[in-house]
Amino acid sequence: MADVNRGNRPLSPHLTIYRPQLTSMTSIFVRLTGNALLVAALMIVWWFVAAASGPDAFATADGFLRSWFGDLVFFLSAWAVWYHMFGGIRHLIWDSGYMLDVEKSETAGLIMIIASVLMTIFTVIVL
């Protein structure tokens, strides 16, 4: 009966009653990192617009991006972007029909965490 309970349907996912697992937590963090990257993306857009506007506007934006707060956002975003990317690659693998069982999914989750941390360290060292 499709019309029963219309308008009062459960929303997904029920985080409060869901036992945390590596697969669910890594998935939640993919969503979280993806959406949180908006902050860094808007800061970057501001920086480009300021650079195109002139030296004064650039000094303001550049000063903000290179302040301790900007450094913190970019450091966290560096991890977020690598993590989200490895999470996305895991989704592409899943969508191709591979690594779908729990054991392999958890291995992939572990690889995501380790690879994102290593790539963040690499990024910080290089830049």
């Binding site: 929303l11 959406n35 908006l38 857009v45 480009f48 617009v49 972007v81 996305g88 989704h91």
Partner: protein, 123 residues
């Protein structure tokens, strides 16, 4: 029926009729970003920290400018699709519509402003 592919069979069967296409576009943009983002991280990262003159000179070069512009376009389109799913999962009714419209406008707006600025630096 075996002539139909799995994707074709799933297409337009959900409540919105467009979920399969949405997912497919997220896949396309994600593959694009796997290539673009490492290039952008290290090119933008090396430009950040330079003086105004250095930054302007760096982004007059076509390759860093193209990487930055493409990353902003594909990135914000990917964000637009992703945040829509995010909003749809946790909100309903008017809030859902308002948030989706706001975030879509923000995505296109930010991408537009960013690309225009990069073009101005590059040309």
């Amino acid at each position: 029926m075996s002539f139909l592919t799995d994707r074709k069979r799933a297409n337009a069967t959900g409540s919105a009729k467009s979920g399969t296409m949405h997912h497919w576009h997220m896949m396309i943009s994600s593959v694009g970003l796997v290539v673009l983002l490492p290039l952008f991280i290290f090119s933008f990262g090396s430009a950040l920290g330079g003086t105004y003159e250095e930054v302007v000179a760096y982004y007059t070069r076509p390759v860093p400018a193209a990487i930055a512009a493409l990353t902003l376009i594909v990135g914000f389109m990917h964000f637009c699709g992703g945040v829509q799913t995010f909003i749809e999962d946790y909100t309903q009714g008017f809030t859902r519509k308002a948030l989706i419209i706001a975030m879509t406008c923000l995505s296109y707006g930010a991408a537009g402003f960013g690309v225009l600025a990069i073009l101005r630096l590059a040309l």
